[in-house]
Symmetry: D2
Subunit: 286 residues, 4 copies
C-alpha cells in the first residue's frame, strides 16, 4: 500500500453539464493514467461528488503546480476540492479510556501495514493502556480528566496535537464527551466508534439499553464527531445477531468484535480519502 | 406441517430446583415421546421459561384431562402455563392499508402451507387490496377510518373479530395507530411490522428519516403491539446494507423485502408457539 | 420507473488514457445531462468497463443517429458497446417446474411495477403453475419433457421464444438442464437461480448435501447460464444462518426465501442494464 | 468467566423415553442448581444430545464421586458422556506459519480473559511470530519442516504436546497438512480455520479461486480436523460481501477479519464445552 505512487482528487460541487468532461480532459491533457474513478450525483440536492485516483508515473504536472493549473476549472464549476498524495502518511492521534480492544486492533493493523498512517501519540484519561502503547513503541500521554477540569485537559490535549501536527483523531472507545470548542479545531477529522446501531441507543450505556429492549441484533457505528452527541455523519455500521441466550456480558463481548471491525474500516476509508461529506451524510467510495 | 400430531407445553415461572425433574417425570409417567425441549433461565430475574413438544401417539392423557393432571405441578411451582395442540389452526385476522407486499407474502405462504393457521378475514381502511384477497378467496372487509371516526371503526372491527373467533391479529403495514382500548382486547396477540430497526426511527416515516440520517443499514422489526407506540416486545428483526447509491425509493423497495421476511418469520414463530414473553422481551425457541 | 426517459450506454474495451475524456466530451457535446456514471478498471487484465445513464430531455441526438455519431470513438478505442433506452421494456420468458415460489415472487414484483419488463410467456414442463399464471394473466405453455424427448421439447420452446421476440429467459427453479445448443441461442441471456452458495454444492440436491455436510450458513446464487453446469458468471448471491435446530425441511423453507430475493435482484439488475461481463465474471453497477 | 464454579455434563446417546427425566432426577437428587440446559434430538437418526450446566455451590456430589453415582444411568441409556469443570482451564497449543493475524487475535483475547484456557506453547514452522509470542510471554518453538522431513517434525511436535499435557490444538493459519498419524493422536481436538466458505474452495489458495470465480461473498470456516482434508465437522462459518471493486488483496484483507472472528468463536465454543459431535456434524449449544 505504501509503495503506491498515486494522486487522489476529491471534488464536491453543484451538478452541471460538462463537469466530467472538464475534469477528464484536464487529466488526459496532463497524461494521467486513471486507476479509479467514482462519482455520485444527488439529483434532489443537485450535488456532484467525485473521487479520482491516477498513477503519477506519467503525469506531467508536479503536485505543487497542480493547484494553479486546476484553478480555472475549479472556479468555473464552483468546486470544493482537495488533492491528496498516496505517499503522504496522515498523522493520527488515538484517544482511549480503559477498554483497549479497539486500540489493540488499530495498533495491530498499523504494524501489519494495513493502515497507511503515522501514529505520533496515544492520549488517555487512564494509565491502563500505557503498556500496550509501549509494545508497539507509540508515545503515550496520560491526561487525567478531573472533575471540573475538562477544559484544562482539553487545552493540554490540543497543545500536544498541534505540536505533533496531528491530521485527525480517532476516539477508540474514549469515554469522555469532547467540547464544541475542541471539536471545532478538527471539523470532520475526529472519528468515533459508538457501540450501537445509531441512531438507536445514542448516548450512554447502549448495550444495557439494547439488552433491556430485547433487540435481536446489536450494532456498532463509526461516525465523524460533530457538536451534537452521536449525530455526526455515519461512515460505517454493522450488526450481529443476538438472542435471549446472550446475556449482557455476551452483548458486550460480541459488540466489541463489531466495534473493532467497524472502527478500523472507517479509519481505513478516511486514510484512503474515500469518504466525502454532504448534508450531514457520507458518500463512501469503496 | 399440518399432519403433525403433537402437543406443546409453554411454561413460565420462578426458577427453582426440581422444576425440570417435575416436568420431565410428569411427561415420562404419561408416556410422552418428547420431540423438542427448550428452556431458558434468566439468572438475574430468577425466571424459568420452557417449551416442550411431544408426540401424542403414545401419550396416555387426553388433552382434556391434561389440566387436571398437571395442576398440582403447576401450582407447586407457581407456573403460568398453556397447552397447545399442533393440529389446532389458530385464526388470524390481517389488517392492511394500501401497501400490499406484506399481505401478498403472507397469503402466498398461507396457500403454500407454510403458515399453519386459518385466515377468516382481511380488514382494511382502503379498498385497494380487495382483489388480492379475492384471488386467495379470503373474505375482505373495508372499514374506512373517517376523521374522528376511529372509535366507531374499532367498534366495528372488534365486533367482526369476536364474531369470527379471531385468535390473533397481524398488522401487515396497517397505517393506523390502534387505541389502547382495542389493544387490551388482544394482549400480546397483535403482531406489527415496523419498517425500521427499532428502536431507531420509531414513529412515522422511518425510511425518510433513515435516508436523511445517512445510515448504512436499514432494518425491519416485528413486535407485539402494546399501548406504547413501537415499544412492544420484539419478535424478529433484520437489516440489509444500503449505500449512498440508494435513493429513498431504493430504501423503500429494499426495505419492503425485509418487511416481508421479518413479518412472516414472526407470524410463523407465533403460530408454532415458539415465542414466550417476560420483562417486555421475547424468548424465541426456534 | 417506467416513466424515466433515459439512455444507458454500456462500454467494455481495453483500458487506455483518454477514454473517459472521449466519452465525456461526446456526451457533453450532445448536451447529455448525466444522471449516473460508473466505471471499473481491471488493472491486471487491462480492461475498462463503463455504464453511463443520461436524461434524454435535452440530448440532441436521436437514438437512431447515436450509432453513426458514436462510431468513430467506439472504433478508436476498440469498444464493445451497446445502447439501451429505459423506456424499452425487455421481453422476459420464465421457465419453471413444480416449485412456484420464485415464479410467484417475480409475478408479484412484475405487477407491482418493480420489474420494468414484459412477460409474454411462462413455459413449464409441468402443468402445476398454470393457475398462478392465469391469476396474473400471463400466457402459460405446458411443454412436457419426455424421456429422450428433450431435443424435441427444446425445439418447441425455441420456436415459441423466437415467435414472441423474447430478449432473455429466467429459470425460476426450472429443474431441467438446458442443452448447449439451446444455450447458444441466448448467450448471457439466461438467468438461473441455484439453491446453494456456488461453487459449493453445484449440481443436484444442494440442500440435502448442505444438511449432510453440516454447514452453518445456506445460500442461493443467481448466475448466467453457460454450457458448463452451474459455472456461469455470478450475478448475485446471499446466505442465511442455520443451525442444528434446522432440519432438512427448514433448510428448504429458509432457502426458498433466499432464492426469491436473490433471483429477483438479479433479474432487476439485468433489466436495468447494470450487469457487465468479462473473464466469466460480472461487474454489477448498482 | 474464570470465577464461575460450575459443572458441565455432555451426553450423547440413542433417543429414548425417560432420558430427560432420569437426568433431571439425578441432578435434583444431588441438589444441583441448573443454570443452562440444552438438548437436541435428531429424529431421523434417533440421537439425543444434551449439555447441562449447574452451579456446584449446593451440589452434594464431589466431581470425583460423580462417575460412580452417574454410572447406572449412563449404562441404562447407553450414554457416551463426559463431565467438565468450569474452573479447569484446558491446555491449548497453537500452530502457526507466517500469517499472524489469527495468532495475534487469539493472544489478545487470551490476555483479555475471553478464552478460559492456558497456552503452554506456540509451535511454528517459521520463526516469524517469535516476537509476538514473547510479547505475550508464551513459550515459542520453531520446528522447521524440511522437504521429506514432515514425519520427523511431527514426531518432535507430538513429543512436545505430550510433555506439556496439551488438551487441544488450534491451527491458526498453519499452512502444513497434518498426517493421519498425527491427527489420530488428537481426534476432534484439532481446530482449523480454513479461509473459505467450505465446502467451496477446499484445498489450496481459496482466495485466488474465489476471485477467479467472481463470487459475491467470501467466507471462513472453522472445523475439527479429520483425515480427509477440509472435510471435518464444521464448528462455525461466516461470510462478508465483496464486489468487483475488491481485488485479490482486498479479498485477502477482508477475509483475514473473518478468519479471526470465526476461529476465535470456534475456540471459545470448544473451551466452553458447547460443541457436540455426531454424523460428522456439530451441534453447537450457544
Amino acid at each position: 500500500m505504501s509503495t503506491k505512487n498515486t494522486a487522489i482528487l476529491l471534488i464536491s460541487c453543484p451538478d452541471r453539464k460538462g463537469l466530467v468532461a472538464a475534469i477528464a480532459n484536464f487529466l488526459y491533457r496532463h497524461n494521467a493514467n486513471i486507476l479509479h474513478a467514482d462519482q455520485h450525483q444527488d439529483a434532489e440536492l443537485g450535488v456532484f461528488l467525485m473521487r479520482v485516483e491516477w498513477d503519477l508515473q506519467d503525469f506531467d504536472l508536479s503536485l505543487e503546480d497542480f493547484e494553479t493549473a486546476f484553478l480555472p476549472i475549479a472556479q468555473e464549476f464552483n468546486m470544493t476540492w482537495r488533492l491528496a498524495h498516496s505517499s503522504h502518511r496522515p498523522r493520527m492521534a488515538i484517544f482511549v479510556s480503559r477498554y483497549d480492544h479497539c486500540l489493540a486492533d488499530l495498533l495491530y493493523r498499523y504494524r501489519a501495514g494495513e493502515l497507511n498512517c503515522d501514529i505520533p501519540i496515544i492520549i488517555s484519561n487512564h494509565p491502563d493502556t500505557h503498556a500496550l502503547a509501549e509494545t508497539y513503541r507509540i508515545p503515550f500521554q496520560h491526561i487525567a480528566i478531573h472533575k471540573d477540569g475538562k477544559e484544562e485537559a482539553e487545552t493540554t490535549q490540543l497543545a500536544i496535537l498541534r505540536r505533533l501536527h496531528i491530521d485527525f483523531i480517532v476516539l477508540a472507545r474514549y469515554m469522555q464527551v469532547l467540547s464544541g470548542e475542541f471539536i471545532r479545531h478538527y471539523p470532520n477529522r475526529i472519528i468515533n466508534i459508538h457501540h450501537s446501531f445509531l441512531p438507536a441507543f445514542h448516548g450512554a450505556k447502549p448495550y444495557h439499553r439494547a439488552f433491556e429492549r430485547g433487540v435481536k441484533l446489536i450494532g456498532a457505528t463509526s461516525h465523524y464527531v460533530t457538536e451534537v452527541l452521536d449525530d455526526g455523519p455515519i461512515i460505517e455500521q454493522d450488526v450481529t445477531r443476538v438472542s435471549h441466550r446472550d446475556d449482557l456480558d455476551d452483548l458486550v463481548r460480541r459488540g466489541a468484535d463489531l466495534e473493532k471491525i467497524v472502527l478500523s474500516r472507517a479509519v481505513r476509508l478516511h486514510i484512503e480519502h474515500r469518504v466525502l461529506l454532504y448534508a450531514n451524510k457520507t458518500v463512501v467510495f469503496d
